[in-house]
């Protein structure tokens, strides 16, 4: 009696022994006879990682009455944890056979199975070993699985043993290993490519266990309560997975990225707290899986043939002040020709008209509108363009978007943001999260820093600012990293999901728009005949010396955007460059100082990103002129 009471306390929800204890003990013993001796069929449902099998186990337990009517006893979810406490040490993975078997049987009895008993299902996430995944598992999956499984099946005598293995795809496996590393506060670093046939090898090892008669492998999330029931031969029983309430959401690319960046500042206890918060906060879709962090060389390409995902997304990302308006005008004009070559072009104007654009992290104070609405709108615009292309007979799986805001909108004011275009990664990651292309390639146009800051400054004055140029020019010498193209290129190339970066110098446009456009389109695999296109080659006219002088005096008095635009248009018309000359900002000596400041950085840029061009192209104004001449080789460098 005493021992029965003790056992009952171990069983969740078990009836407490009070006045009617004796009568109940008799009934209990009566039922227990049905499970004495060997179980006809033991089905061990095991998974890696444990999470899914727990959910399936819980779902089966929730329908245990219906299964019991069919002669099936299910032990899973929370019950297995209690059974584990009774005899199975998850740490040592050793089974006290007697205790464990008894605990399992006691749980089974409660389900009041009607004879004849056909099967006992043991649904446990720990049957392959309970240790966290490690990088070595890309070579050998669950190295201790045989020992653990052997102990388990020996603890429950059965005439026939089936093991159902729910295993991840290679891609998911990398995601798990990576997330586990992040949870331990480690940078995932480089992982080895998963060996082919890892799951089959594990199945073979399990099958080699004497007492195991058969192994069923369900790979990449195939396991559901329904197909497990089918494995048991219990047809027509609908079992749904319960939505998990309050459970920590799965890692995604964004939460893993944040956890990785935060980890160095935290101790172990703080890390758990912060990671849990990040996973909950960043659970909202759209998102990509954490394994996207890994380079494509490591990460196996998922075969997405037959799906409607974009195969290659080409992003021409500017930067600003590198003739982007001219390029976009040409691409817009030539979009039919591009479509005929299999490239769907989405014009910047479509994107910038989206009503919730300001949710995009390209903007300094993003998040003021709904990101989900922005995501819907952008996806909708791209899908619409693709549908139009498909209706016209084009494949529609290669998409080109030209938008310099992809590197982040420039913030107005007399300062240089550091690092160079600080929102570039976030802006592009948002676009990739939304569009989920199989592959993304970036096209970056660079410009020598002295003319770049002049042009950026004029843009600010056009926009209504009135600070003197010297304020910005002085900052260049204090913080040259604010204009480092090598740093920007390296950061762009590290964006998860980006497979290639093509860099071209803006100065080549002086050779002609056609050649410049050809350089840009080469990596897309398309060409355009500029002579057949209609677009404005000089889209953003500059200020003259006098126009600048007047703008600096007037702008501080302008309050609204309309006023600023009106003044800008007036100054351009009344004081054109042709009449009083282009505004000159840098004297020759300061210009050369700036050129010298970036000489080494630019040399590295040309050597690594544009090896077909002279490495000293940005060393002097004279060497830059060489870029405007036709090059012997037109093949752009790819990083």
């Amino acid at each position: 009696m005493t021992s029965l009471r003790r056992i009952a306390r171990r069983i969740p929800g078990a009836v407490r022994w009070r006045a009617k204890a004796a009568r109940r003990a008799i009934a209990w013993r009566f039922r227990s006879r049905r499970l004495r001796g060997r179980i006809p069929h033991l089905v061990v449902h095991a998974s890696f990682p444990p999470g899914l099998v727990t959910a399936i186990g819980d779902a089966l337990v929730a329908r245990s009455r219906a299964l019991a009517d069919d002669g099936v006893v299910v032990v899973g979810g929370g019950q297995i944890r209690d059974a584990g406490r009774a005899g199975w040490s998850a740490v040592a993975d050793t089974v006290d056979r007697r205790k464990f078997s008894r605990a399992i049987r006691q749980v089974s009895r409660r389900q009041r199975v009607k004879p004849p008993l056909r099967a006992l299902v043991l649904s446990t996430g720990r049957a392959l070993g309970s240790e966290r995944p490690t990088a070595e598992e890309t070579r050998l999956l669950r190295p201790r699985a045989v020992g653990v499984m052997e102990e388990l099946v020996n603890a429950v005598p059965a005439r026939r043993v089936t093991v159902v293995l729910d295993l991840p795809s290679s891609d998911d496996l990398l995601g798990m290993i990576l997330a586990a590393a992040v949870e331990r506060g480690r940078d995932p670093g480089d992982l080895a490519t998963p060996l082919p046939g890892l799951t089959a090898e594990l199945a073979g090892r399990i099958e080699s266990i004497d007492r195991v008669d058969e192994v069923v492998v369900l790979e990449g999330g195939e396991a559901t309560p329904a197909n497990l029931v089918t494995c048991l031969g219990s047809q027509g029983l609908a079992i749904a997975l319960k939505p998990s309430r309050g459970a920590t959401p799965r890692w995604n690319l964004r939460s893993v990225g944040a956890a990785r960046d935060v980890s160095p500042h935290l101790d172990r206890a703080e890390r758990r707290l912060v990671q849990s918060h990040l996973r909950r906060t960043m659970a909202e879709p759209p998102s990509r899986p954490p394994q996207t962090l890994l380079a494509d060389a490591i990460r196996p390409l998922i075969d997405l043939a037959g799906t409607d995902r974009i195969r290659t997304l080409h992003l021409h990302i500017g930067i600003q002040k590198t003739a982007t308006t001219t390029i976009q005008g040409a691409l817009h004009s030539g979009q039919t020709a591009l479509r005929d070559q299999g490239v769907v072009y989405l014009d910047r104007r479509y994107m910038m008209r989206l009503s919730d654009l300001r949710a995009w992290r390209a903007y300094p104070h993003s998040g003021r509108t709904e990101f989900s609405a922005f995501a819907r709108q952008l996806k909708g615009a791209v899908d619409e363009a693709r549908r139009t292309a498909i209706a016209a007979g084009a494949p529609g799986d290669v998409v080109l978007i030209s938008n310099e805001t992809m590197v982040g909108a420039m913030e107005k004011g007399p300062f240089l943001e550091r690092p160079f275009r600080p929102r570039a990664e976030a802006a592009i990651e948002d676009v990739l999260d939304i569009l989920q292309p199989q592959d993304c390639r970036l096209i970056l146009v660079v410009r020598r820093q002295d003319t770049l800051i002049e042009s950026q400054y004029m843009w600010q004055i056009h926009g209504g600012q009135w600070f003197p140029f010297d304020r910005v020019a002085g900052l260049v010498f204090d913080h040259p990293e604010a204009l480092s193209f090598t740093d920007l290129a390296d950061r762009l190339e590290r964006i998860p999901g980006v497979s290639a970066l093509t860099v071209s110098p803006f100065e080549q446009i002086r050779f002609g728009v056609e050649g410049f456009l050809h350089q840009i389109l080469q990596s897309v695999g398309a060409t355009l005949d500029v002579s057949s296109l209609s677009f404005d080659a000089e889209s953003n006219p500059s200020y003259s010396e006098r126009a600048l002088e007047i703008a600096l005096a007037v702008n501080s008095h302008l309050d609204t955007r309309e006023q600023r635009w009106a003044v800008r248009d007036f100054l351009r018309a009344a004081f054109p460059v042709e009449a009083s000359g282009r505004a000159s900002l840098l004297d020759d000596a300061t210009r050369q100082r700036i050129i010298d400041l970036f000489a080494e950085d630019n040399r590295r840029l040309f050597e690594t990103r544009m090896p077909h061009l002279p490495p000293d192209a940005y060393a002097t104004t004279a060497t830059t002129e060489v870029l405007a001449a036709p090059q012997r080789s037109n093949s752009p460098g790819t990083g």
Binding site: P414, A426, D478, H479
Partner: protein, 281 residues
């Protein structure tokens, strides 16, 4: 008799939330003195970022008239830290470059009333540090050093905006407070605010709720690392609440942002001017 109209215009980061939330949470402590606050929620509509004063001055005027009509009202108090516009540190000649038109509009609204404007100040170094931490808590991810690029130390004087207020509203109708008074505790600070309105308001506030805890050094490190990954306003708010709960300066050490040299530079430059501005007149 018409009540006295009081507009508390900031500055940002000088205990405005504390004053607003005290008036919201403890109206019974104010009722005996005839203090009728206009809620911070309402001033958002009536004042906004100051542009409402210019475009729709009648909104605030009508609301003041409505409160004034109550015979028990002796003081109508509107506290709104955005009255002078945004503190633009990157451009403009002083801390509140949008203030001129807003102050003029406010002066027009208050012209026919027994009115006063209260503005609290704090020393430049503390103001800049606090303002930066607020930006980070709102989701920004630049370091203090990077943010300082936007701040011209020559243009962070409080004098222009104080002068602007005194010229437009009238020197006797502008009271300047020193946020440093908070060092003696938040209840004495609150009492000081109401004594500035009228020494006859001999209030002994009972208010211990902690307002606007700031983040610690560790909280700042976490925010700077995590913020670039945050996407929505809700995510940013959740992160702010999380950091204030678990990594506030009540639990961990405060962040040290300015170097001693930078702090000394600001003190040399603005210390005397500051003391002059906050000295009783």
């Amino acid at each position: 008799m018409s009540p006295k109209i009081v507009v508390h215009v900031g500055a940002h980061k000088t205990g405005t939330s504390l004053i607003q939330k005290y008036m919201r949470d403890k109206p019974r402590q104010l009722t005996p003195f005839g203090v009728r606050p206009i809620s911070r929620g309402q001033t958002n509509t009536l004042i906004g970022w100051g542009e409402v004063l210019i475009e729709h001055p009648a909104l605030l005027s009508d609301r003041i008239a409505e409160e004034s009509a109550d015979p028990t009202a002796r003081y109508v108090v509107a506290s709104h830290e955005n009255t002078l516009g945004r503190p633009h540190l990157a451009s403009g000649d002083h801390l509140y470059p949008e203030a001129a038109t807003r102050v003029a509009a406010l002066a027009g609204i208050l012209r026919d009333h027994d009115a006063m404007v209260i503005m609290y100040l704090r020393p430049q170094a503390a103001f800049l540090e606090s303002y930066y931490l607020q930006l980070v808590q709102q989701g920004e991810s630049f370091t203090f050093d990077q943010w300082l690029d936007r701040v011209d130390f020559d243009r962070v004087s409080w004098s222009p905006v104080v002068e602007m207020l005194r010229n437009a509203i009238g020197p006797d109708r502008v009271a300047i407070g020193d946020f440093e008074e908070i060092r003696s505790g938040q209840e004495p600070f609150l009492a000081g605010f109401f004594r500035r309105i009228d020494p006859a308001i001999d209030l002994t506030p009972r208010y211990t709720a902690k307002r606007n805890l700031s983040i610690s050094e560790k909280g700042l490190q976490i925010a700077l690392a995590a913020n670039p990954h945050l996407r929505t306003a809700d995510e940013k708010k959740q992160m702010r609440d999380f950091l204030q709960k678990h990594f506030s300066n009540a639990v961990y050490p405060r962040p040290i942002l300015f170097s001693d040299q930078q702090r000394a530079l600001l003190e040399d430059r603005y210390g005397a001017e500051y003391q002059d501005l906050v000295a009783p007149r």
